[in-house]
């Protein structure tokens, strides 16, 4: 999201200096404007924007931090920088003498400091309430008493606030859970090596010959005497038949299986460990269960993610999560759990880990990997290593940092976020109309009170403040209860899919109600109260004393 916004800002900044014929268009949500005699061709994704106009090429890479224009490398840039191209081809970065337009600058500032804005707005709204009660002079107790007198209406109106805020909190907690999952799944120093052209391990196919000596590349952290922290993996998807009752529709679930060569190295690379009582699978990856000749069978040893263990356990009577020693059927074989991954909050929580060879043979990838995950010393080193792998002439591979890979997976989160914002806004609008109705009715019922207050010497603005405050108090109560109700959703688990970069992963995520979500809920409630109370309060202010007493 932030990269797209930065891209938009950069391109708008770029347009502010372009001269001659200007071509303006829109591509993938990014508005661009480039000086050119031909229509510019624009290719954009989250990390990169490439504009080709009049055979000149402007390439902006946000993550890689490189700017290329007209084939020349113009140095390093970072997200949020402003790039301008002079008509003579000179490049300027963050030239303060060329201020961006007010709206763009404001939006950039907002995106950068949204947390401060959120808390600041909430603090300002609460401070406004205190201030109004201090300067209004109409006793707050008068308004509060009125809320108690017509308690049925108060409860119903506050309940509307509560419902809207509680729903928004739960929905946002879901999206936050998705973001948390994608953020906590990647290690800062890890690099994912995929086949050329692939952005997702689901589509990647690295034949053994293609990999070459990539795991021995400089920059990969050593492990022990002769090993490197490089995990060669094959990621496949299996279908598991779910037991159903008689007469029910047949059901199955998709199960993600990660075949790994060395579980200890893989665990170190992915920073995962097993829950107490578990162990990694053996070198062979199978366990022979002896019986008579006919019944002897090899069980596939598997390590299962915590979330998937709980989901599969729900198929059994009692619904207890699967644990060490339990077995489950998959792909016409019996799989035995050797260990349970302590993987809560990451995408690995929904995976089964087995020996690479077994996963490959069972699921049609016997002679290939889908990815190699390697560990560099740190984040910067990982970026450098990814660039080095991509640039290698020995192999044709794609590489990206694991953080970037999982960040790309947040595409679904964005879609849900947009949908939730729209739903919350429409619901809030409905709530605002409800509050307006209540407040107009309250004013109509208390027109005599208003007349008396006016005769007692209270000024029009004090009447306005009084009714506005009443609406805000209603909103505050409703919002607080809504936040409290929404907090109950914290920790709930939900199944979903995260996707991006062409691939997708089935995940079990945990809903996370954060401070920011609660603040946003309360702010929404106060905003509804303010908007719903303002116009009725204006109408109360305009009442004439004598007329209202008649």
């Amino acid at each position: 999201m932030r990269h797209w916004l930065s891209g938009l800002c950069m391109l708008l900044a770029l347009s502010s200096v372009a001269r001659g014929e200007i071509n303006i268009g829109d591509k993938g949500g990014i508005t661009y404007s480039v000086s050119s005699s031909k229509t510019p061709q624009v290719v954009d994704d989250e990390n990169e924007i490439v504009i080709t106009a009049d055979a000149k090429r402007l390439e902006i890479k946000f993550k890689a931090g490189r700017l290329v224009y007209d084939g020349k490398d113009c140095g390093t840039i970072k997200t949020g920088d402003r790039v301008a191209i002079e008509p003579d081809g000179k490049i300027t970065v963050n030239d303060e003498s060329r201020p961006v337009t007010g709206l763009v600058a404001a939006w950039r500032f907002f995106v950068k400091h949204w947390r401060e804005f959120l808390y600041g707005s909430l603090a300002a709204a609460l401070a406004l309430m205190v201030l109004l009660s201090l300067i209004g002079k109409v006793p707050v107790s008068y308004n509060v008493r009125n809320l108690f007198v017509r308690w049925k209406t108060t409860v119903m109106t506050a309940l509307a606030f509560t419902l809207v805020v509680a729903l928004m909190t739960v929905m946002m907690a879901f999206v936050n859970g998705m973001y948390t999952l994608t953020e906590s799944s990647g290690q800062l120093g890890n690099v994912m090596i995929l086949s050329s052209g692939s952005n997702d391990e689901g589509f990647s196919n690295l034949a053994f010959d293609d990999v070459g000596n990539v795991e021995k590349m400089e920059g990969i952290q050593p492990y022990g005497n002769d090993k490197r922290l490089a995990s060669k993996e094959v990621f496949v998807m299996g279908n598991q038949t779910i037991p159903v009752g008689p007469g029910q529709k047949p059901k199955r679930r998709f199960v993600q299986i990660r075949g790994i060569e060395d579980p200890v190295v893989a665990a170190l690379v992915h920073a995962l460990s097993l829950k107490p009582g578990g162990q990694w699978f053996s070198e062979a990856g199978v366990e022979e269960v002896s019986g008579d000749k006919a019944s002897t069978q090899n069980l596939i040893q598997a390590v299962i993610g915590n979330g998937l263990a709980a989901e599969m356990g729900s198929d059994r009577a009692g619904g207890k999560p699967l644990t060490v020693g339990d077995t489950f059927p998959l792909a016409d074989r019996t799989w035995k759990i050797a260990g349970v991954l302590d993987s809560s909050g990451s995408t690995f929580d929904s995976e089964i880990w087995v020996k690479r060879q077994i996963a490959g043979e069972q699921f049609g990838k016997p002679a290939s990997y889908t990815s190699i995950v390697v560990r560099a010393a740190g984040e910067k080193e990982a970026i450098k290593l990814a660039d080095k792998v991509k640039a290698s002439k020995e192999t044709a591979l794609n590489a990206l940092t694991e953080k970037q890979y999982y960040s790309n997976m947040a595409e679904t989160s964005k879609q849900f976020l947009y949908a939730i914002v729209v739903v919350a806004m429409v619901m809030a609008a409905g709530g605002v109309f409800g509050v307006m109705n209540t407040m107009f009715a309250a004013i109509s019922q208390r027109s005599k009170d208003i007349g008396v207050l006016r005769i007692m010497g209270y000024q029009r603005r004090q009447i306005l403040i009084s009714f506005l405050l009443e609406s805000l108090v209603l909103a505050l109560i409703g919002g607080l209860v809504g936040c409290a109700a929404g907090m109950l959703a914290d920790g709930w688990t939900a199944r979903s899919i995260i996707s991006g970069g062409g691939g997708a992963k089935f995940v079990v995520l945990r809903l996370v109600v954060s401070k920011e979500i609660l603040a946003a809920g309360l702010l929404l409630s106060l905003f509804m109260g303010m908007l719903g109370g303002f116009f009725p309060a204006i109408s109360a202010m305009r009442l004439r004393a004598l007329e209202s007493l008649r």
């Binding site: 109106t157 086949s195 052209g197 299996g238 699921f363 409905g430 062409g502 089935f506």
Partner: protein, 424 residues
């Protein structure tokens, strides 16, 4: 009869006058109802589409044959010849009425730039099966159908011809008539050049981002790879994603499932035979919790909020008009009449607002906005179904009734003596 109609007309006039008396309140109640009915309509539109896709039909069923244990499914092309006959061996075995083979070919226009604009995903199949076996294409109007048939004919004659959905074309910044070269991703090393011969008609909205090609083109390329490289392509032995069969009814589906399941032809890999509804249902299992939340949390909470808004407005209105209600009773209106007036007022506002909101959403979203952009699974956009007009009416009237029942009962029980004693 006439006197009853006259009485009803008299009541209707009073209800309309009451509604018009406080236009501000009526407006706010209506706007509140409309916005909340809009949310319900959007949520139910998504759920109803999903329900429709996953429901089991009684007749004219589609059956999907996929690989049993693996996803994505990969079946050998050799399976197709017997599968399209439903693995029938005996003369009285069930044979499908139609079939289509599906392969997926995805790749990049520029392999050095892995971006969305550069990516294309094509469904390969027998061109002549596209109009009959792909969902909703058999419902196109005569002009659109004729256009699709022309494209199909050309795809049959020219193997590298492809049809690309208008949105996908726009994303790729290409036009009909242009040629594209695709570097294979799923079938790595199989790079194909296509000529874009047409787009899907606008009426086929669900295909706005879909592209189709002739399966023969891919099969020929895989064969060529084998000859050139002296070894088969790694994915060449099982290029088929699935086979779709059409059967007449559920009884035939069950017989067909048994025929295919018992057949010795499909062992490596084993196949799964299931109705399309069941297959889609399995794919959507991962979204089950989201749909559950929409169905049982979001929907009911919005309906409850809607009832609250209406209940609030009507109870305020009843409280303000207690004297008027007492007067009506003095004039001969019975408690039931008073209750009817209050109910009628709420129902009028609720029903009209509901119908107006759902109707407006239908027109705005379907005709102007081109659907609700809510990409979930492989569905990109959702449309408001025709029955949404009934939802608007039912939701508006239903929530109005629930919301106003207590205020109406309260109005019914207003005691004349109490009201006038307070005034006195």
């Amino acid at each position: 009869m006439l006197s009853l109609l006259g009485t009803l007309a008299k009541f209707a006039v009073i209800i309309v006058k009451n509604v018009r008396r406080n236009l501000l309140r009526t407006t706010f109640t209506s706007l509140g109802t409309m916005t909340l009915v809009l949310v319900v309509t959007l949520v139910w539109s998504v759920l109803s589409f999903i329900d429709d896709q996953t429901s089991e039909k009684a007749n004219d069923l589609k059956v999907l044959i996929t690989e049993k244990n693996k996803s994505p499914s990969r079946l050998p092309y050799a399976y197709v010849s017997s599968l399209k006959e439903g693995a029938a061996r005996a003369p009285d075995d069930v044979r499908p009425v139609d079939y289509m083979t599906w392969v997926f070919y995805g790749g990049m226009l520029d392999p050095t730039k892995p971006s969305r604009e550069n990516f294309i995903f094509l469904i390969g199949g027998e061109p002549e099966k596209i109009p009959t076996m792909m969902e909703e294409l058999d419902q196109l109007g005569p002009a659109d159908r004729a256009r699709l048939d022309r494209a199909v004919q050309r795809m049959k004659e020219q193997r590298n011809a492809c049809v690309i959905g208008p949105e996908q074309l726009k994303t790729m910044n290409k036009k009909v008539g242009e040629r594209i070269k695709v570097s294979g991703l799923i079938f790595k090393g199989i790079d194909l050049e296509f000529e874009i011969i047409d787009t899907f008609p606008d009426a086929a909205k669900r295909y706005a981002q879909t592209s189709v090609m002739n399966i023969e083109y891919l099969l020929a390329a895989l064969e060529e790879y084998k000859v050139t490289n002296k070894k088969p392509h790694p994915e060449g032995d099982a290029p088929v994603a699935f086979v779709v069969l059409r059967v007449k009814n559920r009884a035939e589906l069950e017989r067909l499932t048994a025929q295919i399941g018992d057949s010795p032809l499909y062992t490596a890999p084993a196949v799964r035979c299931e109705s399309q509804g069941s297959a889609i249902s399995s794919f959507l299992e991962a979204y089950k919790d989201i749909f559950w939340g929409m169905r049982w949390l979001l929907g009911p909470a919005v309906l409850f909020t809607l009832s609250l808004v209406i209940a609030n407005a009507i109870s305020i209105s009843v409280r303000e008009r207690r004297m008027e209600i007492a007067l009506l009773k003095v004039l001969g209106f019975r408690p039931g009449h008073v209750m009817g007036l209050v109910l009628g007022e709420a129902l009028l506002i609720g029903t009209l607002s509901g119908v107006f909101s759902a109707g407006g959403a239908y027109l705005l979203i379907n005709k102007l906005a081109g659907g609700i952009p809510f990409p979930i699974a492989w569905f990109q956009r959702f449309f408001i179904p025709d029955q949404a007009l009934w939802w608007g009416l039912a939701v508006g009237a239903g929530t109005a009734f629930v919301g106003c029942i207590f205020p109406a009962l309260s109005a019914r029980s207003v005691r004349v003596a109490d009201v006038f004693s307070k005034i006195a």
